[in-house]
Symmetry: C2
Subunit: 755 residues, 2 copies
């Protein structure tokens, strides 16, 4: 079945991976897929609950600290642990690592939004029980993590004890073998208040440095009991229930999380209030709400594939995890690992804009808008960072951050990736093209485009009639600190020319006058943007008829990938950066990515030559690489290759092919799966004159169908090997482009074209 993910492994390594795969979240709150009752004592576990954007600061250590190196790093904090529920059968503790596991399954239901574990177990002393765990993180009540446990004693049990715990003594994961994580960084949260009130267990904790507070208010319910005991300890509250075994036991635990960033100073009261609202809702009602939320989501976002179950499950899993990870409140964004793990410290990167944003933009534009609003809220921080980096003006977005402070400790592959400012600008432009939201244009987009345009003017310079941007790092992190990175320059060009376009469009309006006053902007500046944009230098190699990745990339020696032993990948774990930088070898798509995002910049034959050249020297050591190669393979008619790359994105985490899924899911790659289908196989491009399709269904598939939202309309596409059907489900008539041919779609009407 393609609507569920199942696994019954009890192997430690797979359990760690499953903690990420079975993680639950709603964009605000995330819970790793740990077992309520824990593992064997000698097993490693990364047990965690996180709030998106709830962070502390840690010191960054440098052997040699230079001017402008960030001194602090923001870090997503592992918060109060409410996962634990222990079950005792006549004082024998239930554990899947003792006794006999007669049956065990764990299932993530993608259309229902919960994880269920079904267990049939015989204890070492021969007592038999069936237990069902259900857990969900609610999309409707963002603060809620709920657990339901059904215990059905079968044989020989007199008494069942259930002990539920909420633990405030938590710390972030530390790997002693990984020198990047200092042990001193692990303990970020201290319990400040702990109490029982109105039947709720309450813990409030505070971060070490940022003084942010988080509270967990927990309530438990059991359908029958003989005794109940609550113990408030120094950092934890536990509740113990003893039940007779006459009938099945139903236990529920509602954990409500609030924090100062979202709920303000009265966070505990707010959580108690939410608990009271929930108290009238049985678990089944919450499950229903969850299903109904997901119905609405899948209605617009599902992609149906006929004839390829594995990929169907892969894409659904990836879409589901994206939904779970995306901040929806304007306060938070999408961390590189979502809320599924602590890798990359919960930081937001360009991953959002280039790899994940398009999915939301084209299917869930409200979420897309909230992501943009979060980036807009960082604009002041980006202005400050530009100043710190020696710029007279403009906004330089940090490479990795939570609240806008640069948190990258290795600037050649961090701060130097100036392109993130253009990537963010690009996403604002895409939003405008897809929504035509004029109010948003005036209130937010204009300012972001103007401030990022200013950065390029200050970071670059005119020379011999060409505008050049020196000393940056492009997306390919195996080539750092170069002049005129093609990707950066072409994205900056787009940024600059759109800033001019928006300025001209709004010129002489009141809004524009306000903006000009606010930003001290004059027309001479806009002229500079135009000049720089129009004369942007884009490196091109005449002999090879390809775009150069940067001024000197093609003059370097070519890395001999064929002779490199497989165990030497990813190269970054086996070679000093100086070694990598010395060769023509790419960690990921760079120039090729620019050709995807800005295909009108070059002729098709150059795009093809460029792809052919770089593909040969790309290791895909970054998980951001496959999807772009799939899209461009589709564009260039390399259909089998396109499918091959696509399949790697679809299964990257499910098959743990990068080997580090335990640290969290590769969210950008998941967004890339969607891109590879919609922008790849279906050839979608959003241009100023409308949306374009050039569909080519992979030969492995019988049919494909999905919906898109575009300018207040809903479109549906149905493809098979012979033809494609376009349908305008709602909204006004629309002209689209099929293989560059104009087509008028009329409401509720269907048009059908041969592929």
């Amino acid at each position: 079945m393609t609507w569920k993910i199942e696994d019954n492994s009890l192997d430690n390594q797979q359990l760690l991976v499953n903690e990420s795969l079975f993680s639950l979240g709603n964009g605000y709150l995330g819970v790793r897929g740990n077992f309520e009752e824990g593992y064997r004592e000698d097993y490693l576990s990364i047990r965690g609950i996180y709030i998106n954007g709830f962070y502390d600061e840690t010191d960054i250590q440098y052997g040699e600290k230079l001017y402008g190196f960030p001194e602090k790093q923001e870090k997503m904090v592992n918060i109060i642990d409410s996962q634990e529920v222990l079950i005792y059968l006549d004082d024998e503790a239930f554990s899947l690592f003792e006794g006999e596991v007669i049956d065990f399954s764990r299932t993530l239901y993608l259309e229902k939004g919960y994880v269920q574990r079904n267990i049939h177990w015989r204890s070492p002393q021969g007592k038999e029980v069936k237990i069902q765990f259900k857990r969900l993180v609610s999309f409707s009540t963002q603060e809620l993590f709920a657990i339901e446990i059904m215990i059905e004693p079968i044989d020989g049990i007199q008494e069942v004890k259930v002990i539920s715990e909420v633990e405030g003594d938590v710390r972030n994961f530390v790997d002693d073998n990984d020198p990047r994580v200092a042990s001193g960084h692990a303990k970020r949260l201290t319990v400040r208040e702990i109490e029982e009130r109105e039947g709720f267990s309450i813990i409030k904790s505070k971060t070490e440095v940022t003084n942010l507070e988080v509270s967990c208010v927990s309530s438990v319910f059991i359908n029958h009991q003989t005794s109940h005991q609550r113990t408030v300890k120094e950092t934890s509250v536990s509740e113990s229930f003893t039940c007779e075994t006459g009938k099945p036991i139903r236990f529920t635990k509602y954990n409500v999380y609030t924090d100062t960033r979202k709920h303000g100073k009265q966070l505990v009261d707010k959580a108690v209030e939410i608990q009271k609202e929930l108290s009238i809702q049985p678990f089944q009602a919450i499950v229903k709400q969850q299903e109904s939320y997901l119905n609405a989501f899948w209605e617009l976002t599902d992609i149906k594939i006929n004839g390829d179950e594995e990929m169907q499950r892969g894409i659904r899993f990836n879409l589901y995890q994206l939904l779970q990870s995306a901040g929806k409140d304007g306060l938070s964004n999408i961390a590189a690992k979502g809320l599924s793990g602590e890798g990359y410290e919960g930081h937001y990167f360009w991953d959002t804009e280039i790899y994940m944003f398009p999915l939301f933009l084209m299917t869930q534009p409200k979420i897309a808008k909230s992501l943009l609003l979060q980036r807009y809220s960082l604009l002041d921080a980006a202005r400050a960072r530009a100043k710190e980096m020696g710029h007279q003006q403009g906004a330089l977005y940090p490479w990795r951050t939570i609240t806008g402070k640069e948190s990258s400790a290795y600037f050649p592959a961090g701060t130097a990736q100036y392109h993130i400012s253009a990537d963010i600008a690009y996403s604002f432009i895409q939003y405008y093209l897809v929504t035509k939201d004029e109010a948003f244009l005036k209130e937010y987009i204009a300012e972001v485009l103007f401030e990022t345009a200013r950065l390029w003017i200050d970071a670059g310079h005119m020379r011999n009639g060409k505008f050049r941007i020196d000393n940056v790092t492009g997306p390919d992190e195996y080539t750092c600190i170069v002049n005129n990175n093609y990707y950066t320059n072409s994205m900056a060009k787009y940024n600059l020319l759109w800033a001019v376009k928006v300025f001209n469009q709004l010129q002489d309006t009141d809004v524009m006058e306000e903006i000009m006053v606010k930003l001290h902007l004059d027309k001479a500046e806009v002229k500079n943007w135009l000049q720089a944009g129009e004369n942007m230098y884009l490196p091109f190699n005449e002999a090879l008829q390809i775009n150069e990745q940067d001024d000197t990339f093609l003059q370097k020696a070519v890395w001999d990938l064929e002779s490199t032993p497989k165990d030497q990948f990813p190269l970054l774990l086996h070679y000093h950066p100086l070694t990598l930088y010395r060769y023509q070898v790419c960690k990921q798509a760079d120039t090729v990515l620019a050709h995807f995002l800005l295909e009108d910049e070059e002729d098709l034959d150059i795009i093809k030559n460029t792809f052919d050249y770089y593909e040969n020297i790309t290791t895909h050591d970054s998980s951001l690489s496959y999807c772009v190669h799939s899209i461009m393979s589709s564009k260039l008619g390399y259909t089998s290759k396109a499918y091959d790359y696509f399949s790697k994105t679809a299964l990257l985490d499910l098959n743990n092919t990068h080997g580090n899924t335990k640290d969290g899911l590769h969210l950008a790659n998941m967004g890339g799966t969607w891109l590879a289908i919609i922008f790849g196989f279906c050839g979608l491009r959003v241009k100023e004159n409308g949306i374009h399709f050039q569909p080519k269904l992979p030969q492995q598939w019988e049919a494909l169908s999905f919906k898109l939202r575009y300018q207040k309309r809903i479109l549906e596409l149905d493809l098979n090997q012979e033809y494609v059907i376009y349908k305008l489900i709602s909204g006004e008539n629309l002209t689209i482009y099929h293989n560059e041919k104009e087509i008028l779609l009329e409401q509720h009407e269907t048009v059908k074209y041969l592929m």
Copy 2:
């Protein structure tokens, strides 16, 4: 007077500077110029004694640690403190910061090799005394640091107490405001043995990580006393003497230091043995030895200037400090700060080869040879580092090190400076040119040249018929990680072609066969060296007719130095490296330095254009820059500029113009003073066909004279504004070049040429 350095400041900031200026050393042992009795309690002091190459290892912290980043840093250790001697006059402690200082002078005698303090002091209670401190670190007995104190009570004093202390509880200097120095790094040494034996106070200590041992065996003598008491505490030994005041008191303290690196496991016995030899030598005898050693030194190394006292003192001070800093035992080299302070952790850089080595080579070749032997001893470590950096073959010398391990924590301005391997090769070649030492050529030079040549073959590659070296950093640290740095490529070319030359010269000898077997070397490799060297790519800009610093340097924007406020220098303390790297701005000579070292590589007009261009964008934020600019100004006829730059080298530490002399002296700059005179004003070049002079005396000077050693000869040059006199003092007849004209010098004969 130009033979002494004087200062009587009691200001804290100047005292810190004076600790470096009045530091004493002999290349093995170094003692900072602290006061025996200490300062005021609230004064900062960097109190230190060091042994050249005696080190511990500390962990390097990284925010993000990548493959091949060094995990440990070598660090010169502050060792057992024997400086302390306290004087009490009837229980009033003598201190220059209490009572009345009637007279105070401190003098470093450059021709005698000691520091003397003369004090006339009245205590707060009105007791008057004259005290003279003399201290020296012996050149003849490298282990000895000796102090003599003469106390002459003048008025109202009944009893004088002298307390001498040897303290083992020492730590390295930590600046809490400097995040590069973690406090945990400070305590590197633990006392392991402490005792009194045969009248000596003995402490033996061990380093934390490297398990190296150092011992201090101290003996004190006083010419009369009423009582004597010795106290052995946990980490210190103190001896207290009480004297009547009938006649002047003479107190001496001999401190003998030994360590496991130089003296082996029996280091304490060795120190006791040396003490016993010294016990028959009064302080005056030791002073005599010191003077005699220095006579011999100055006889060959002094530079006499008529008509410019300030510069005369400057150059003598600098030459003296170079002598004090240079390791002479083949185990040690010259630290960037010599033995005068803890800046740069006592590391050896290319500073030795390019800035200091020539002075020793041309005046004290035995010292020069010992410096080369130390580098030769690091060859295995350099081979290992090459492997670690991904090279199949060759030797990559670490950028900063003590025993051969790379200790640089910021690779773009550290490890990436591959040129250090060519710099070391260059110094071996220079040694051969000056000494024609064929035995040394066979035993050491050949192997060093071959292994460094191999590095270039592996680090570079042929492309379109040119040999290119990508992804290195040249001397200019404001421009990092570039392709085809002119300096690096031209030095590598010299390295490669000399490797071929030496191979050809030794071909078919037994020695060569041994080397070929040892290094698995075949002739095909040598052919590669020749091909790479002959086809080395040296960037050249046609339009400007100058050499480019690297492939893309001249395409960047030019830093506006004129509009940069003075308080923003040095730039590295006020701008992020990415900002600096983005502009045409140089910290120091780079291409210009290559034109000095390898002037035959380019035509004079190109050299001139190049100098004119780069001089305008050079900040001289590095202390290595002035001297090169002085030399090249001399060469190009910019005589007033040449003098101006020279004067900055001569007084850099004496006037603390870089503001950080407290952390130690700028030894390379001191070597540069000598270079600016000999290679600059006198135009010396050492070439294969002999030595060349093109003298141009600065107009500020009446006359200049000095000696040089060259191929077993001693030459003397006497210059005034009208003519130059060349004299062959010893050795066989020699042809030299004066302004490119051949001159035959006959023994004891003098030739005179108009300038």
